[in-house]
């Protein structure tokens, strides 16, 4: 049963109902229904109906946002597709909301939230993404590197939408861990990084210590990233995870983190729009150039704009339960005070 935002968070009722209706006769896309939500798409737009109204969004923007939400397993905290629609990860269940973190929707009483079992919702969203992504369109790619998301149903691109990000368990390149990116593995140098040195570090392990020393070129690794706004993990120190990524165009979501997150700009430049997590009211613009470092507090949402493909090191603390400690106020929203 659907509840208001506050009720859903304190009294979660998980709705598992989901099914696919017959394809839309005009455009050929399946119609998806889960709980109280119905998702339809036409040539240009996605239309989501819910008990208090209708939400309409550009189909390309919706698919790019949905791609990240699915690929990241709903990620940390809030994945806002825009100022209105999104998901909140509770790590075994997930809220799907319309207007719950938008001051206008809240004051009008047209906000709505419903909680789902995470696996059921993920299955529904994956099916939607597969059916609604046409041949030639890759929602992970920068707009200049892929075809159009628009038009009536035209095949699919499951190879693209099933792309798996690489998650090292200790350090890239160690035996048994994730591998380096090479032409042979299908990781070509991106067109914007053709000037990035492809040399690897020298590793001279003494006899008996082979496999204990390890090093790789992070810049080469990132120059070969085939996707945008999709962090991998290259190293772990305890629960501290280096999650570098290559960025181009616009982060398709507004990420409202449930913990502190850090950005280290390794090359080029990204501008971040910062807004209040609960109301979407603008708070700041953060411009990051090569070498800049900035923290994202736990009480904001952010969206990045990268005019050229750039290398960004996202740094996360993966300690389980942090979302509860920040959510309860036990931990302050900022990483340090001075």
């Amino acid at each position: 049963m659907a509840k208001s935002t506050e009720q859903a968070i304190t009294e979660p009722t998980i709705n598992n109902a989901s099914h696919i209706q017959s394809p839309d006769p005009d455009y050929g896309y399946e119609v998806f229904q889960i709980g109280s939500y119905t998702f339809r798409r036409d040539e240009y737009f996605v239309r989501v109906t819910y008990p208090k109204g209708t939400y309409v969004v550009d189909a390309g923007n919706f698919l790019r946002a949905m791609m990240r939400d699915v690929a990241w397993g709903f990620f940390y905290g809030w994945v806002n597709f825009d100022d209105v629609f999104g998901t909140v990860n509770h790590y075994s269940s997930v809220d799907v909301f319309v207007g719950s973190y938008n001051a206008g929707y809240k004051s009008a009483g047209t906000d709505f939230v419903e909680r789902f079992d995470a696996n059921k919702l993920l299955a529904c969203f994956k099916a939607l993404l597969s059916d609604w992504t046409n041949a030639g369109f890759d929602p992970f790619a920068a707009p200049l590197e892929t075809g159009t998301p628009y038009g009536s149903k035209n095949g699919n691109n499951d190879t693209a939408v099933n792309f798996q990000r690489e998650l090292a368990e200790r350090f890239v390149g160690l035996e048994g861990d994730t591998e380096l990116r090479t032409d042979e593995r299908g990781f070509a140098v991106n067109r914007h990084f053709s000037d990035v040195d492809q040399s690897e570090p020298e590793v001279h392990a003494a006899p008996g210590f082979e496999g204990q020393l390890s090093a790789f070129s992070l810049f080469r690794y990132l120059s070969r990233s085939p996707v945008t706004w999709n962090p991998s993990i290259v190293s772990l120190v305890g629960e501290s995870a280096y999650c570098p990524t290559s960025e181009e165009h616009i982060l398709p979501i507004q990420h409202g983190n449930d913990r502190v997150e850090w950005f280290l700009q390794l090359t080029d430049e990204i501008t971040w729009q910062i807004a209040d997590k609960n109301t979407a009211a603008p708070k700041a613009i953060v411009t990051m150039k090569a070498g800049d470092i900035s923290s994202m507090p736990a009480d904001i949402q952010h969206r990045g704009f990268s005019p050229k493909r750039s290398m960004l090191l996202v740094w996360e603390n993966m300690t389980p339960g942090l979302e509860l400690r920040y959510g309860s106020g036990e931990l302050p929203p900022t990483a340090a005070e001075f």
């Binding site: 570090p201 613009i285 923290s295």
Partner: protein, 166 residues
Amino acid sequence: MTTATRFASTDNYAKGGVEIIGDEQPRRYLFSNMFEVADQSTVWERVVVARNLEFTIECVRAEGESPWYVCDHDETALSMQGDIEVHFIKPADSTVLPTKDHPGPVKLTGEPTGQAMGWVKLGHGHMALLPRGAAYQFRATNLGVLLLQSILGDESIERWAGICQH
């Protein structure tokens, strides 16, 4: 259009910054620049430029030979500027290792006795694992900048007011 990748260095960096809308505070974003931090640091200081509870990223001005360090957990080192060698020794005396309740590296007095494990040479953008239990020393012929992924410890220096926009 140009697609040249823009890197930065201690000799050539241009900071961005935080523009405020309304009553937000710039200091909440702990905005700094690693090359500016390195430029203003003493050699081999480990200045915390990012902290997430006990975990840190520390910026190091690398020049000449560093002290020897050893740590009871993995760390990593990323060269953001310069060619930097990392030499490793397996300490013969296990008591030089910090105890498990003592995170972060400890600085050793001189080169430890033990078996040489080998070395790595990092260039620009290269990253090395500093494996748990291996003593390590950095060697930089010219001015370099390192980012260390570690845990807050005795060697970590926090001076947020000195490095961050506020």
